[in-house]
C-alpha cells in the first residue's frame, strides 16, 4: 500500500493544524500525528501568546515595532531581524483570527482580550486564556480542523523522512494500531513535530517530545541551526519538573531564597522576577550553588511565592497552577510557597528554514518548535513560541500555496519503497532478542545532557558529554526490544526515536563545544562574555559522510537594531 497526498503535514500541534487549516481548501492534505492532535504538547502551554494589541491600560502605546525590539534584545541579537519583524507584525492578526475561530481568551472589563506582562517584554502584551492558553488555542485549531474536515491520521508514527536528489518524496509511517508500515508520498512534506525536551532528564516537556522529527530531517540530510541554544525555564516543580508558568511572576509572584530575600533585586533591579528566562535561571542556579537554596529529597530548590496575590486572584488567573501543585506535590499555593528549580524547557535550535518555513531541500518545510527560522535567537521570550507556531504554520501554508502550482514537483515511489525496506530491516534488527533495552540508553543520555550541557557550561564538561554521547551511540547498535510484534508496541517506538534523540543530542553538544562565548541561554563559564566579532552568527549542523555532524556558520540578519549590551 502506498498513500498519496499533495501535501503531507506531520504534527497535530498548533503548527501542523494551522498549516493544514490554511491548505485544505485548495489541496489534498493529510495530517499525521503519533497522538490524537489534542494530546500534542501544545496543549500544555500555560502562560500566553504575545501580540501588541495595546488592550492593557498600562500598554496603550505598544506597537509591533516595540514587540520586535524586545524580541531582538531577548534573543541576545542572534535572532534574524527580518523574520522577527514579520512575526511581530502578523501577531495581532493571528490573535484576532484565533479569537474569531472561537478561542476563549480571558477578557478585560471592557470586553477586549486581556493581556498581562511577561518576562523580557517592555509592555503587558501577553494574551491569555487563564493559565491554560495552549489548551484553549489547540482546542480552537482542532475545532477549526474538524470544521474544515481536514483528513487526519491519528496515532500514526512517522519513522523516517524520504529525501533523494535534493528533493523530499514523503515519509514512512508505522500505523501504531495495525503495526503496518506505510509509505506516504507527497509533493510537499511539512514538519510541525515539536521540540526535543526529552533528550534531557529534567524537562518540562511532554513525554512524547523526543525531537524525532528534527533527528529524522537531519539524518535525511536537512541542516539544523543553532542547536546549542536550549532554554531552561527558571520555575519548574521539583521532582516532576512540571512547568510553573511565567504568568505566576507576571501576576506578581516572588522568588525567594532560604534567607527569605527576593534575590532578583541583586541581579536585575529593574525587571526583578520578570527578567528573561536565561537570566533568571542563572540567578536561581547561583543562589543554589552559593548555599541559599532549600534542601529536599527531590533536590535543592528556591521558593516561588504567590501567597500575597490572594486566593481570589490565584483562583481566577492561575487555577491550573493551583491544581497541579495540589495534585503533584500536595501544596496549595494560596497557603504555601511552591518549591521550584530550573529545567530544560524549549528548543531554540531546530531544522534550518527561512521565514517561509522552507528548508534547503525541495518540497520539505518545517515550522514551530522543531524549526529554527530564527526568531528566538539565543533565548526565546515567554509567549513568543505559541506565536511562532501559528504565524509560521500560517506563512508556510501561504508559501506552499504559491509555490506548489509553479514547482511541478514529482515525488517518486522508488526512493520511498527502498526506504521502507530499510525501515523494515531496522525493525527486524531491533526486535531481535539479547541486546540492551532502550530505556537504559535514554536514561543515560538524559543524565549526561542535564548534568553536563545545562544552564552553566564548561569546555571540560561539554567534552565529556561529547564522549559519552558517542559511547551511547555505539551501544545503540545493539539495542533490542521485548516484542517483535509491531502492533501497539510503544517500546519499539521508543527504540526508533532513541536513534534520532542521539543525533539531536550530538548536534547540541558539538555546537555548545564550538561556541566559545556566552549568549542568551548558552552560558560558558570559561567564556562568560558575548563575542560579537567572532560569534554573531548561526551555527549550521549537517550530517557528515561518516555520520558525525559538520558545523558551519551563517550570517545573522540585522535590519534596524545594532547589538547592544543586554541589561534588565
Amino acid at each position: 500500500m502506498m498513500l498519496t497526498h499533495d501535501i503531507l503535514i506531520v504534527g497535530g500541534g498548533l503548527t501542523g493544524l494551522r498549516a493544514a487549516v490554511g491548505l485544505c481548501d485548495k489541496f489534498n492534505v493529510g495530517l499525521i500525528s503519533k497522538v490524537y492532535p489534542v494530546r500534542s504538547h501544545s496543549i500544555a502551554a500555560q502562560g500566553g501568546i504575545n501580540a501588541s494589541l495595546a488592550n492593557n491600560p498600562d500598554g496603550r502605546d505598544d506597537t509591533w515595532e516595540k514587540h520586535t525590539f524586545d524580541t531582538v534584545k531577548g534573543s541576545d541579537y542572534l535572532g534574524d531581524q527580518d523574520a522577527i519583524e514579520i512575526m511581530c507584525k502578523e501577531a495581532p492578526g493571528i490573535v484576532y483570527e484565533m479569537e474569531h475561530w472561537g478561542c476563549p481568551f480571558s477578557r478585560f472589563p471592557d470586553g477586549t482580550i486581556a493581556q498581562r506582562p511577561f518576562g523580557g517584554g517592555g509592555f503587558p502584551r501577553t494574551c491569555f486564556s487563564a493559565d491554560v492558553t495552549g489548551h484553549s488555542l489547540l482546542n480552537t485549531l482542532y475545532e477549526r480542523a474538524v470544521y474544515k474536515k481536514v483528513k487526519i491520521y491519528p496515532e500514526w508514527f512517522v519513522t523516517s523522512l524520504c529525501v533523494e536528489d535534493g528533493q523530499c518524496h514523503g515519509v514512512i509511517v508505522l500505523d501504531i494500531k495495525s503495526g503496518e508500515l506505510i509509505p506516504v508520498r507527497a509533493k510537499v512534506t511539512v514538519f510541525g513535530t515539536g521540540g526535543y525536551g526529552r533528550v534531557y532528564r529534567n524537562s518540562t516537556n511532554a513525554l512524547i517530545n523526543t525531537g524525532s522529527g528534527i533527528g529524522m530531517a537531519y539524518k535525511a540530510g536537512v541542516p539544523l541551526k543553532d542547536m546549542e541554544f536550549v532554554q531552561f525555564h527558571p520555575t519548574t516543580l521539583i521532582g516532576t519538573n512540571i512547568l510553573m508558568t511565567e504568568g505566576c511572576r507576571g501576576e506578581g509572584g516572588y522568588l525567594l531564597n532560604n534567607k527569605g530575600e527576593r534575590f532578583m533585586q541583586k541581579y536585575a533591579p529593574t525587571a526583578m522576577e520578570l527578567a528573561p528566562r536565561d537570566i533568571v535561571s542563572r540567578c536561581i542556579m547561583t543562589e543554589i550553588e552559593e548555599g541559599r537554596g532549600f534542601e529536599h529529597p527531590l533536590g535543592t530548590y528556591i521558593e516561588l511565592d504567590l501567597r500575597h496575590l490572594g486566593k481570589k486572584k490565584i483562583i481566577e488567573r492561575l487555577p491550573g497552577i493551583r491544581s497541579i501543585c495540589m495534585d503533584f506535590i500536595g501544596i496549595d499555593p494560596v497557603k504555601k510557597p511552591i518549591p521550584i528549580m530550573p529545567s530544560q524547557h524549549y528548543s531554540m535550535g531546530g531544522i534550518d528554514v527561512n521565514e517561509k518555513g522552507a528548508s534547503p531541500i525541495k518540497g520539505f518545510y518545517a515550522a514551530g518548535e522543531c524549526a529554527c527560522v530564527s526568531v528566538h535567537g539565543a533565548n526565546r521570550l515567554g509567549g513568543n513560541s505559541l506565536l511562532d507556531t501559528i504565524v509560521f504554520g500560517k506563512l508556510a501554508a501561504r508559501a506552499i500555496e504559491e509555490e506548489l502550482p509553479k514547482d511541478k514537483l514529482k515525488p517518486k515511489e522508488k526512493p520511498l519503497l527502498s526506504l521502507k525496506a530499510q525501515v523494515e530491516k531496522k525493525i527486524n534488527k531491533l526486535t531481535q532478542a539479547g541486546g540492551e533495552r532502550p530505556y537504559k540508553l535514554a536514561a543515560d543520555l538524559g543524565a549526561v545532557m542535564s548534568e553536563k550541557v545545562g544552564v552553566f557550561r564548561t569546555k571540560k564538561e561539554i567534552a565529556q558529554a561529547l564522549d559519552e554521547v558517542k559511547k551511547i551511540k555505539e551501544r545503540y547498535i545493539n539495542v533490542s526490544v521485548s516484542s517483535a510484534d509491531p502492533h501497539m508496541n510503544y517500546e519499539l517506538h521508543n527504540a526508533i526515536e532513541l536513534e534520532y534523540m542521539l543525533e539531536v543530542a550530538h548536534t547540541i553538544v558539538l555546537g555548545a563545544l564550538l561556541r566559545e562565548e556566552s549568549r542568551g541561554a548558552h552560558f560558558r563559564r570559561d567564556f562568560p562574555k558575548r563575542n560579537d566579532k567572532k560569534w554573531l552568527k548561526h551555527t549550521i549542523a549537517k550530517m557528515g559522510k561518516k555520520g558525525d555532524p559538520l558545523i558551519s556558520c551563517k550570517q545573522v540578519k540585522i535590519t534596524n537594531y545594532q547589538p547592544m549590551e543586554r541589561k534588565y
Binding site: 497522538v35 489534542v38 500544555a44 474569531h100 476563549p104 491554560v132 470544521y147 511532554a206 533495552r437
Partner: protein, 246 residues
C-alpha cells in the same frame, strides 16, 4: 503498614488475539513516595515488561491521554499518587464503555464521533469585526468550566446510560455542545440543538452525576445537559408562542 514494594495488577488483553481471554498480570515494583501511577507504568514498561501498552503524553493532567480505572475508580493515571491508596496493591483496568485495543488502550472512535457530531466549533453568521469580538468577563465566565474539558473520556467511561445504550451522545459531547451554545459569540441556530432533543441526546441522561464524580477537571457535564434541556424547552415555548400569535 504498607511496604514500599507495590504489586500492580494490570488487566491485559489484545484485540488482535481475541481467543485469549483478558487476564491480570502482576508486577512487583518499589515505589518512592510522591510517584504517580503513570510514572510506575512507565517504569514497568521500561524495566519489567516492554509489551505493556498504555497511552501517555503530558504527564501533567492536561492532555487527556491516560484515563483508566485505578483500584475501581476512573481517573487519570498521571495525576493519581500511588500513595493515596491504603493498600500496596494497585489494580489497573481499561476505561469502561469502550472496546479494548490492547491492555489499557481503548478505541476512542465512538467518543470522537460524538464529539464531531455536535459541531464542536464556533458558528458565526455575522461578519467578523476587524479586531476581537467583544465578550464581557461575565459571559466568558459562563463557559469556563466547559472550556476546561480535556477530552479524556473519564466521564464517558463512568456513564451508566452509555453502558446500556452506545448510541447516547454522552457527557463530554453534551458539555462541549453547551460550551458553544452558551458562548456569547456563537450564533448557531435553534435547529442545530434540535438534533439532540432526543433520548440519544439530552434526554438520555439519568442525571445520576457519575460523570461529575469522574471528571478530573471539575467539569460538570450534567450542568451542561440540564442547561441544554432548558434552552430546548425555552425554544419550544417560543415556537408555540409564535404559532399562537400567528
Amino acid at each position: 503498614m504498607i511496604s514500599d514494594t507495590y504489586t500492580f495488577k494490570i488487566l491485559r488483553y489484545d484485540a488482535k488475539e481475541p481467543k485469549k481471554e483478558p487476564c491480570f498480570a502482576s508486577y512487583k515494583i518499589k515505589v518512592i513516595p510522591g510517584l504517580t501511577v503513570l510514572a510506575m507504568l512507565l517504569r514497568i514498561r521500561d524495566e519489567i515488561d516492554g509489551t505493556l501498552s498504555f497511552r501517555s503524553s503530558c504527564r501533567s493532567a492536561i492532555c487527556g491521554s491516560c484515563a483508566m480505572v485505578i483500584n475501581g475508580k476512573i481517573d487519570l493515571a498521571c495525576r493519581t499518587q500511588v500513595a493515596v491508596f491504603e493498600t500496596d496493591t494497585i489494580i489497573l483496568e481499561p476505561l469502561p464503555n469502550f472496546e479494548v485495543i490492547k491492555d489499557l488502550v481503548v478505541d476512542m472512535t465512538p467518543f470522537w464521533d460524538m464529539y464531531e457530531k455536535i459541531q464542536p466549533y464556533l458558528i458565526r453568521k455575522s461578519s467578523e469585526p476587524e479586531k476581537e469580538i467583544y465578550q464581557s468577563e461575565k459571559n466568558r465566565k459562563k463557559i469556563d468550566q466547559f472550556v476546561n474539558c480535556i477530552l479524556c473520556a473519564c466521564c464517558y467511561g463512568a456513564c451508566p446510560v452509555l453502558n446500556r445504550d452506545g448510541n447516547y451522545a454522552g457527557p463530554a459531547a453534551m458539555a462541549k455542545l453547551q460550551r458553544f451554545s452558551l458562548d456569547s459569540r456563537d450564533e448557531r441556530s435553534a435547529e442545530t440543538l434540535e438534533t439532540f432533543n432526543s433520548e440519544e441526546g439530552v434526554w438520555g441522561c439519568d442525571t445520576v452525576f457519575r460523570c461529575i464524580e469522574a471528571c478530573p477537571k471539575d467539569v460538570r457535564p450534567t450542568d451542561g445537559i440540564v442547561g441544554l434541556r432548558k434552552t430546548l424547552l425555552k425554544n419550544k415555548a417560543k415556537d408555540i408562542w409564535r404559532s399562537i400569535k400567528r
